[in-house]
Symmetry: C2
Subunit: 482 residues, 2 copies
């Protein structure tokens, strides 16, 4: 049976300030209303039923993954399986972990691997191609999907094809299968142009098909230490799985499946693909996929432009007005707490900015101003000396944990909807313009019993206002008390 | 005696988004800690004592002018005199109004006129030149200050000099006085270059010296209708002055003193000046006066730059991070509720943006997010459906009016300092983390009895949240109840 595995562990930096360490791009709605993870999952729902859809993600993103998937119409029953890594250890480890699980439920499992954060403009061609890739993988080879390049892109890795292989799948020319001659890293412009002109190179899309058993054998061959550790994990999958992972996983070698296995294997083949693929790897990739006006501009609704050309001006805060005059080939990303303005030919240097901000300990690279929670969102409106103001939005029927804070007091003012609150011994229903005060050390809980959104303004006061000052007593989402 | 008149009625649009209709540039700290009005007043304090300093401003800006001037060390006792216009009617009317007042207190008054929002880098040369200009004005001529141009600026009006006049003030060449041959409007680049090369043209700085009686005679000659209206106002200065102004002033011709009088007069002379003058008329003018790094960039402290050149990146919100990569000749102005990104050679088109935003009824061209009040400031943190969140900062010893709102309720949470509150029949002192709730229709007052700043978070709820929903019962600052 074919199983699809989505790798959703990445913590990209190249789409800052929209992507953050705690909110990487797969969880963002960059193009369309749904997040990239949701779109990837829906694309795969055309190929496998939800019980054979697996997501590998970071432990701290588990709730977010489940929340986003459960919001999809066709994927909730049964829900996809979520595998969590205590820390990220690159794709070889994540794929090995998923292969272990697949083999346990299906010893002949075919495994398809997809990044969670890529983009496909031709979903029907994608589906057809994936089914062919699965058929090839039955021959116990490692199938890579090679995207036919339409420009001399320097931001991607390339695959050079070798001879045609005799898998007689179809008579259609573009569906020939080739042995992989070699993988090459991101080339310079001149080399990239030569690659495209040769017709023998494809972009490495990070999409792979193989039997779970095949990839495990290859891991045993080329990454034996990693494989041995995976066997230790496999032995404990029934009990103490989480503790075993927490002990073993951080010590695994952090290496990509490309470098660790595919570049060495003699079984790698490439299936050429023309599916409108993009890795959305930087702001120009987003720009390229966005609708543009007659001057080549992508402008958010809150942008007023005079005379700009070939520019991308994104703003996600409708309360801000953005005016642009005479921009050319500029990328602008304006969010509540940060602004990026970048010349189009230098978008790769967003990494430099993020690394520098990390070095400075800037919070703006880690958490977004609006933070997703299983019960809704919160947004920091103002941080002052010994106080913080938040807007908290709770979904209908959702509830925060029963909790207390040791160092901060909180005022809650309901501004929309209805709140059910527990505040020490008191329990009450509050409507818009009603409020409650929770002194430090008091157990409290906020819930939305209604059918509409609940929105409150929370004013925190106290000497310490960190998110880690929380003791949870009861939580619908299984979060621990630390 | 010499009197100095500051014209502070302008509502410039070219420095949007920092300047707003209700907060024009003279009231902003664009360069240095003090506002341009404050810096202009301090510059003039070297020439005239404060009882001979006059400010003409819009009625709605009167409190702001007084608040800003009273904060200056040397100008409070006696305070400068503030003349208010019910509506702005350009410089001929404002100067005529000031001349009436000056003549009443001093029939031989010498009157020096200065825009409130210009910049002078050489205050000592300025003082010396102004005293000379005053001496020339005693000869009953209209003295204009002509700035020696150092570049072919197309954004200024020019004055072409005629023959040298025999005012033997000094032997220093640059202090020769010339008859004005003519005034010319903003030229194109080629014309401006010819002007500068000729050595016979000066920038019109909008600084004038004359006797009050002389300018009134010239107004009578060239703008007789305006002059007749001024006489009507003069007849009522002792009683019903405000009502008279409110009736007559809006009907006055709106014309500049340059077009209305100086261009026609045979008595205009020009005194060349080299005082480091700028009108700060657009963002490139601000850039030119700002300290720049070795790459020609002016960067605010919250800016992280990679490889930009000759650019201006201003941000006034320390809670926001601005990253710029590879900008060249760009002007960026980032404030809480708006962002401007403009190619340096198109800054004049900021007007176009502002006019378009006005047409759309956008509040962002009128009020800044942080609004100055005589008692302190308020900042709108969030505007939602039927609610608004504000941060209110009250100066030590200051008090808001006793007031009520018909349509909105308010929650106040003290987050810093001490609040004395009146809330209906209740009166209380609140400390940080204490709060009060004021239902719609309840009289209330907020005051800061302490020696430190008071800061509260105000959550407003109700069907109508406009600032005009206020009934004032008692106000320290003489504001009416509407």
């Amino acid at each position: 049976m074919l199983h699809a595995v989505i790798l959703a562990g990445g913590g990209g930096t190249r789409l800052w300030p929209l992507s953050r360490t705690h909110s990487p791009k797969q969880f963002l709605s960059l193009l369309g209303d749904r997040t990239l993870l949701q779109q990837t999952a829906l694309r795969l729902a055309a190929i496998v039923p939800s019980e054979r859809l697996w997501i590998v993600t970071a432990k701290e993103q588990e709730l977010l993954v489940k929340t986003q998937l459960s919001a999809l119409p066709n994927l909730s029953e049964p829900p996809p399986k979520v595998l969590t890594e205590p820390v990220g250890r690159n794709t070889a480890a994540a794929i090995g972990l998923a292969a272990l699980h697949l083999q346990r439920v299906d010893s002949r499992a075919l495994m398809a691997v997809f990044p969670a954060d890529h983009w496909v403009t031709q979903p029907e061609a994608f589906t057809a191609l994936m089914l062919k890739a699965a058929a090839v993988a039955e021959h116990d080879v490692l199938v890579t999907v090679g995207v036919v390049p339409d420009r001399a892109e320097t931001g991607y890795g390339y695959i050079r094809r070798g001879e045609v292989l005799p898998f007689a799948l179809t008579s259609h020319h573009t569906n020939e299968i080739y042995r992989v001659e070699r993988f090459v890293e991101k080339p310079d412009r001149q080399t990239a142009e030569a690659y495209v002109a040769s017709g023998r190179y494809y972009w490495n899309a990070g999409i792979f098909f193989w039997r779970a058993s095949t990839i495990l054998e290859e891991l045993a061959l080329y990454l034996p230490t990693l494989y041995a550790a995976l066997l230790q994990i496999a032995a404990r999958l029934d009990n103490s799985a989480e503790e075993t992972l927490a002990t073993i996983y951080p010590r695994l070698e952090s290496i990509s499946i490309d470098s660790g296995v595919l570049e060495k294997s003699t079984h790698a083949v490439v299936l050429p693909a023309d599916i409108g693929w993009s890795d959305l790897g930087d702001w120009t990739a987003i720009y390229r996929q966005s609708p543009r006006n007659e001057h080549g501009n992508m402008l958010s609704p809150n942008v007023l432009d005079v005379g700009s050309k070939n520019s991308f001006v994104f703003g996600n805060d409708p309360q801000r007005t953005i005016a642009t005059i005479g921009l050319e080939n500029m990328m602008v990303v304006d969010v509540e707490d940060a602004l990026l303005i970048c010349s189009k030919d230098r978008v790769q240097e967003v990494r430099t900015v993020v690394h520098e901000l990390r070095t400075r300990g800037a919070e703006v690279v880690h958490a977004p101003r609006t933070v997703q929670r299983p019960w809704g969102t919160y947004t920091v409106l103002q941080e002052g000396d010994q106080y913080k103001v938040k807007r908290v939005v709770v979904q209908p029927g959702a509830s925060l944990s029963l909790q207390l804070h040791r160092h901060r007091s909180e005022h809650w003012v309901v501004v929309r909807g209805e709140a059910h609150i527990i505040n020490g011994e008191q329990e009450a229903l509050l409507q818009a313009s009603q409020s409650t005060y929770i002194p430090a050390g008091t157990r409290h809980r906020l819930a939305n019993p209604g059918a509409e959104l609940l929105e409150i303004i929370e004013v925190q006061t106290g000497p310490y206002l960190g998110e880690d000052d929380i003791v949870r007593f009861a939580d619908l989402y299984g979060r621990s008390s630390s």
